[in-house]
């Protein structure tokens, strides 16, 4: 089986989020980056395990980004992906990213393409669907469990209040959610092998973005908790109505 895993780079979960003065760009000074956890823990680990199940399989990590992402890509290789491709461009929007990934995948005949269910920075959940559309492949989102037998995959998806089970024929695109696999720490052997695995850097294809980010805004700081005594129901109603404006 030929498997492609799309991985992206996100700020570390503990990073301080701030923007430039005009609020048009994320302020990356001093921010440590990690591989997007959904891509790493769920998509990649599951892909690697599937590859082991089907001898002769390969797992290719594909990333749209600049050279400062190489450390993250190497981690993918340390987690036992076979090779990697970096498309040398800034991943400005989901559409641009999906287009680049699609153009890479088009000629490669992948049997299976993984993304994470979302990135933990923009939380868009867009790339997988767009990528599938570009390639004219089926797309299964939020997969929390997946088995493959022959050319058919059986996938469990988390849906509101329950689980949906779908069957889909290879090839297809799947976005991985929690449950697909367990986080794995790269071992020394993996790390040592990673440095000798191929990491190809390829140029992007020309593509005019259809959208652009005009402004970022931080969520409003949470205001403190107000305690209302149990015998002051009228006061509670008044607060909810005229201050919180929720009723």
């Amino acid at each position: 089986m030929k498997i492609m895993v799309c991985v992206s780079k996100t700020p570390d979960t503990t990073a301080k989020i701030s923007f430039n003065a005009a609020n048009t760009e994320f302020n990356s000074a001093g921010v440590a980056y990690i591989m997007n956890p959904y891509d790493e823990w769920y998509a990649l680990v599951r892909a690697v395990d599937l590859a082991k199940q089907f001898p002769g399989s390969t797992v290719t990590v594909v990333h749209v980004g600049r050279a400062d992402s190489d450390q993250i890509i190497r981690k993918g290789l340390a987690l036992e992906a076979n090779d990697a491709v970096r498309i040398d461009a800034d991943p400005h929007t989901a559409l641009f990213t999906a287009k680049q990934l699609a153009e890479h995948a088009r000629s490669k005949n992948y049997d299976l393409i993984f993304t994470g269910k979302e990135t933990i920075d923009h939380n868009g959940s867009d790339v997988g669907a767009m990528l599938a559309e570009f390639l004219d492949l089926p797309f299964v989102s939020y997969a929390s469990k997946m088995t493959v037998a022959g050319t058919t995959a059986t996938i469990e998806r988390d849906i509101e209040g329950g689980v949906e089970v779908v069957e889909v024929k290879l090839p297809f695109v799947v976005s991985a959610a929690k449950g697909m696999a367990e986080q794995r720490i790269p071992n020394m052997m993996g790390i040592m092998k990673a440095k000798n695995k191929p990491l190809a850097v390829v140029p992007p294809v020309a593509f005019t973005d259809k959208a652009k980010v005009t402004r970022f805004e931080l969520p409003k700081a949470k205001s403190g908790v107000r305690m209302v005594s149990a015998d002051e129901m009228d006061e509670l109603v008044r607060l909810l109505h005229s201050e919180a404006k929720v009723i």
């Binding site: 001093g30 190489d70 450390q71 190497r74 981690k75 720490i185 790269p186 071992n187 020394m188 440095k195």
Partner: protein, 598 residues
């Protein structure tokens, strides 16, 4: 990953007579992408595997230590210092330093790790015969086999060679019969093999490998300790324990080589473990100081608190600079020895012996920096620091052992000076010529011009500090040769000299690192690093002044004392700096980032 970077190689102990060059000094900011990935793996291990079970570990609930060792084995983290033929990956020294550094925050579990990978494994790697290495090392590396190290006895701790445990050959010549008692044995509770030191016939100090479950081997009750409660500690009793002669480790009567040489590496590693723990504790102090509000503002606003945060950073930074500097020196030495045909094991052992002085310095400096940091961390946390519900109290208790084992800090200080003088006596290090030069300089007119150039004050101060050490040590040795004092009985003076060596080494390592950082891209501005440098030198100068004055007034009198005191004055000219503002700047960098950021 191995690379020789040092061209004008600094030999062990030579830092007191030779200058180093920043460009040739290794600093942690130079770690490679691959090494940073190793660091990440270890940090993930601490976060995913240790953090969630800290309370259970502390109460020794379940068999967590054993399970954690096995997981580390699976990750390949227990064999990075073991050659491939014995199941390891033979990585370079810097990577191994980094692993200890990153595992440092692992609390008492790090003791189990250090026992397994250090005193448990290394005696076999360095002194075992081929069959023993094949039999034990791969399983120890994998974590399926656990080891412990039995040297200390109720009657012999620092004076380890005074052990009473004995071994006697049976009539058929097939076994040694061990009798005696060991004390404070970490990991004895779960170890599968015991590295035991006993005297054959009551005289020949020798190492043995004793399997768990051997008849007559029993354990005492779990010790109730001040800290590192998650690391089990037991007494081990030997009553007519029969050990096959094949289990003798190394040469008969040469057990002291095993016991002492393994310690050089143990001390080096302990320095790195302390350092790693200390950085994380400092981080928690910063975070708490930013969060905690009193008098309607974060306590991080208060100068008294900023002082503590800055001081934590300064001490960590100095210890870290020294740790990685020595790491590279050892790594380079190993590369040279390997190029000459030595095995990985022999090269490592010899390199650590070459830098035994520096290893002792790192152990003392690292454990004392950590003790400062955990203590002030409790203070920054106030009442919460005193509560067992939060990490500060545990870190405070856990820290204390580091000044006691792997040779107490007193023993290590004594060794630092003792080894230096021995190297001089053996002609390995010429300290006599430069010491004479200093004597001469004392009678000449001092120069009045201040130094210029990049970090000119610091570089000049460094040269002066070396002169003070030579002056004091040289003066004391001369008194000894004249029969006026017996230095062995003047430990206070030796402690002063050791303190000056430790202080100087840390100052120089800090200087080299800050100078090198100047040309590197980094997150925190160079100005902040220079503030660290200046406070290290300002405080260091005052301490050098005191140590030197204490020492010379302890052995010199009259005109000689006067000359020496003038020398101290002359060699501690580093200008006063606004340490208050500099500490504020250092603390400010961390407060802004809500993290330890150096």
């Amino acid at each position: 990953m191995s690379e020789v970077t040092n061209h004008s190689v600094l030999k062990g102990g030579a830092f007191i007579i030779q200058d180093s060059v920043a460009a040739e000094t290794f600093i942690p900011e130079q770690l490679t992408e691959e090494q940073l990935m190793v660091k990440q793996t270890v940090q993930d291990f601490v976060r995913n595997e240790i953090d969630p079970i800290r309370n259970d570990l502390e109460k020794q609930k379940g068999n967590h230590n054993v399970a954690l060792l096995e997981k580390l084995g699976e990750l390949g983290l227990m064999g990075t210092h073991i050659p491939e033929e014995y199941g390891g990956s033979g990585m370079d020294t810097n990577t191994n330093t980094l692993i200890c550094d990153a595992l440092g925050p692992g609390g008492g579990f790090t003791v189990s790790f250090a026992v397994q990978t250090g005193i448990g494994m290394l005696p076999i790697l360095y002194y075992g015969n081929e069959a023993q290495k094949q039999q034990y090392l791969p399983a120890l590396v994998a974590g399926t086999l656990k080891a412990c190290y039995c040297l200390t006895e109720p009657g012999s701790g620092s004076d380890a060679l005074a052990a009473k445990t004995r071994a006697d050959l049976t009539a058929d010549g097939k076994h040694y019969v061990l009798n005696g008692q060991k004390m404070w044995i970490s990991s004895a509770a779960f170890a599968d093999i015991y590295i035991v030191f006993a005297k054959i016939g009551g005289t020949k100090f020798t190492g043995f490998i004793v399997p768990r479950g051997a008849d007559g081997l029993t354990l005492g009750a779990e010790e109730d300790k001040l800290g590192i409660k998650s690391s089990p500690t037991r007494q081990v009793f030997f009553e007519n324990v029969h050990v096959p002669v094949e289990n003798v480790l190394g040469e008969i009567g040469k057990g002291h080589l095993i016991a002492f040489n393994v310690l050089n590496i143990g001390r080096f590693k302990l320095g790195a473990l302390c350092l790693g723990g200390s950085k994380v504790v400092a981080d928690s102090a910063v975070k708490h100081a930013v969060e905690r509000q009193q008098f309607k503002q974060p306590i991080a606003n208060f100068g008294a608190i900023q002082f503590k945060l800055a001081e934590m950073a300064i001490r960590n930074f100095a210890a870290e600079s020294s740790q990685y500097r020595v790491s590279q020196l050892i790594q380079d030495r190993i590369a040279v020895l390997r190029a000459k045909g030595k095995s990985y094991a022999d090269a490592t052992l010899d390199a650590a012996e070459e830098y035994a002085i520096e290893c002792s310095i790192l152990k003392v400096a690292g454990s004392e920096a950590l003790d400062y940091v955990v203590d002030e961390n409790v203070q920054v946390h106030g009442g919460l620091g005193y509560s067992e519900e939060y990490g500060a109290a545990r870190a405070y208790r856990d820290s204390r052992i580091n000044r006691i084992y792997e040779g107490t800090n007193e023993i290590n200080r004594l060794l630092t000076v003792d080894m230096l003088l021995k190297k001089a006596m053996k002609g390995q290090l010429d300290i006599v010529t430069p010491a004479w030069a200093v004597q001469k300089e004392l009678t000449s007119m001092p120069s009045m011009t201040r130094p210029t150039g990049l970090y000119g004050e610091e570089k000049a101060a460094m040269k002066d500090f070396k002169k003070i050490i030579l002056m004091v040590a040289g003066g004391a040795v001369k008194m000894q040769m004249d029969g006026k004092i017996n230095l062995e009985k003047e430990q206070e003076i030796l402690m002063n000299v050791a303190d000056m060596m430790i202080e100087s080494f840390n100052m120089e390592s800090t200087l080299l690192r800050v100078e090198k950082l100047r040309l590197m891209e980094k997150e925190v501005s160079q100005e902040v690093y220079e503030a660290i440098l200046k406070v290290v030198f300002a405080d260091g100068t005052a301490r050098m002044h005191k140590f030197a004055t204490d020492a010379i007034s302890s052995f010199a009198e009259g005109d000689l004392l006067k000359t020496f005191l003038m020398g101290v004055k002359r060699f501690t000219k580093y200008p006063a700096v606004n340490v208050k503002n500099m500490r504020r700047q250092i603390a400010g960098a961390m407060i802004e980032r809500k993290a330890y950021c150096f």
